[in-house]
Symmetry: C2
């Protein structure tokens, strides 16, 4: 990336929202980061500018052929006013893996992380401190070249926007009711399921709408080939505790390699709790439920951290998990990860990165 | 859709490009159509305005979760200066089917078609008349609400932009060399393959890039489940003439219901040529090639109309089709459809719609 980061400050700062009623992704801070790409010139003109609408040609390729990737991570403020990021290098490494799948040029991960830190530093008054809140960070890249031919764009825009957020799900840590999706499919090997790209989310919305109409918060996705093996829940990775062992679908090319997923596996190993990544069928879950060994279930992701599952509905087989209450392990994982993220607990794995 | 169509004309018209060197989707006309949607208000404020960049919040949902659909159709000018559209009602019906899959609100197909006709009428000097050229019409809808929660947007923008185009493929009717894709997958049943939505195209670009690196123009997609049954070629439907019979993959929920595909099936039936829509494996094609009954192969779509396939490469089995030349039936279909589209041939099926 050529050149220095330029910073153009907003003259009049926005009024901040009520930090006790933030919701998710509805408010945005005063500034944003933009870096442009042009074939032959590479990534250039990194700049922090006032948060404002962007102007694009109606033929910009992102509108037509969806060449776009994104990331999601969070900044936290400690009680002694330090600003912490949680494993941000993993997000930028994944952004580049997504870029590869979507044929978007690779970014310089370290330089973008440095520019992000400058942005966060400028916006540190936007980091809420109430329990469960944080400053959500959304880096994304869009194809901006105006052309209707189906091919990789020659121009892109990388942007980072920031949003102070409350709990991702209105329910918070209340266990959610999930429908096992038997009609729609999120992804299949050979597709884009392992990339964080818009199309995966676009295709999921209809299943989500139909689940809500039936009284469920979200869907549990099965694999695209046999519609039998568990993949993700909503837009999260998913874990099950069965007979003392924690199981999660293996990274098979169609599910996301989640940062929270990886952190949970690391913690469980540290705690001596057996954790296995493997293929896991819905029949196996149902069998465990029937023989009374299905102990806990939870989704994991940056937005929600841990989202306990209180009920799974599979073709009218209802499975009520842990009496519909949050499990002991789910709670311990949530407390540990949010504790490390907010600086309240020690950080034995060197996961947090301080913004100066 | 409430209200009348408003028209704001450009004061100074653009200089038109050289109509003999148009390429595809690189030049845009003087005006565009915009219709807005807001939950509770419906589609509103239909307007023709000067073609210009649009302004969107960086959090607009289309950038993050890809809720977007599009169409492609063409306008032609006859030798006696009439302006013709080809089966436009099918495009707007399909746009609504895509809307349904992407949970975008339904449009009033007739009203949007009327507004499109007003736009075309205003831009009729942009319709090129050289053989193989036309005015390409790109209707598309994008989710514009600024929000990072994964759900259906409450705000959308429908736009129609126009681009004078030459042949879609630089090769024109020269038969293309196609690689049978055995790694990447375009779509799977339960996904969005039958919808015209950005994510399908985004996921295809990497396969296209790798095919080009190996000396092929495009890929032939196999099904997402067994990676064995033929689906599409590039972004087109595909037909094969084997032993006097024309075969094309059946509409299975993961391939596009093409307007050109439908027109070809209709023509073949009219001509008394047997045409069958069914599952068709790559092994079956290869067997036909080996026993000498594989006569022709071609892709079909609005952009290229007919794109003859001269070579198919399947795991290093090279199939040279019709000595690498365009087949007699492929040429006749191309001549007939483009003849009807441009008013040079009679229109027995009432496919063309005149713009007054």
């Amino acid at each position: 990336m050529e050149g220095q980061l330029k910073i153009e400050r907003r003259e009049v700062l926005k009024e901040k929202p009520d930090f006790s009623r933030l919701g998710f992704g509805q408010y945005f801070t005063d500034h944003m980061l933009i870096i442009d790409y042009k074939e032959g010139k590479g990534w250039h003109d990194a700049r922090i500018v006032p948060y404002a609408p962007i102007t694009l040609d109606p033929a910009a390729m992102v509108f037509h052929y969806g060449q776009t990737v994104f990331e999601g991570l969070k900044a936290f403020k400690t009680t002694d006013n330090r600003v912490l990021l949680f494993r941000p290098e993993k997000n930028f490494a994944r952004l580049n893996r997504s870029n590869d799948r979507l044929t978007i040029p690779q970014i310089d991960e370290e330089q973008v992380l440095e520019a992000l830190k400058a942005l966060i530093s400028l916006e540190k008054d936007w980091i809420p401190t109430e329990p469960g809140t944080s400053l959500y960070i959304r880096p994304f890249i869009i194809a901006t070249e105006p052309c209707l031919g189906v091919r990789a764009s020659h121009e892109y825009k990388l942007m980072v926007i920031l949003s102070p957020v409350g709990a991702y799900y209105a329910e918070g840590l209340e266990p959610v009711h999930i429908n096992v999706e038997s009609k729609y499919v999120r992804a299949v090997r050979g597709g884009t399921g392992a990339a964080k790209t818009a199309g995966n989310y676009a295709s999921s919305i209809k299943a989500q709408v139909e689940a809500k109409e039936s009284g469920y918060s979200q869907v549990l996705w099965l694999d695209g080939i046999e519609q039998r093996y568990i993949e993700e829940v909503g837009s999260m990775n998913v874990f099950f505790k069965i007979d003392g062992q924690v199981l999660t679908p293996e990274l098979n090319g169609s599910i996301l390699d989640g940062v929270t997923r990886d952190s949970i596996i690391t913690l469980l190993k540290e705690w001596g709790i057996p954790v296995v990544e493997r293929k896991l069928s819905i029949e196996e879950l149902h069998e465990a439920y029937q023989n009374g060994t299905f102990e806990e279930a939870f989704g994991t992701g940056t937005a929600a951290v841990i989202s306990p599952i209180g009920e799974l509905n599979w073709l009218n087989h209802k499975m009520i998990i842990n009496d519909g209450k949050i499990g002991e392990l789910s709670q311990k994982l949530y407390d540990t990860i949010t504790g490390i993220q907010t600086g309240k607990l020690a950080d034995p794995f060197h996961w947090v990165v301080e913004v100066n």
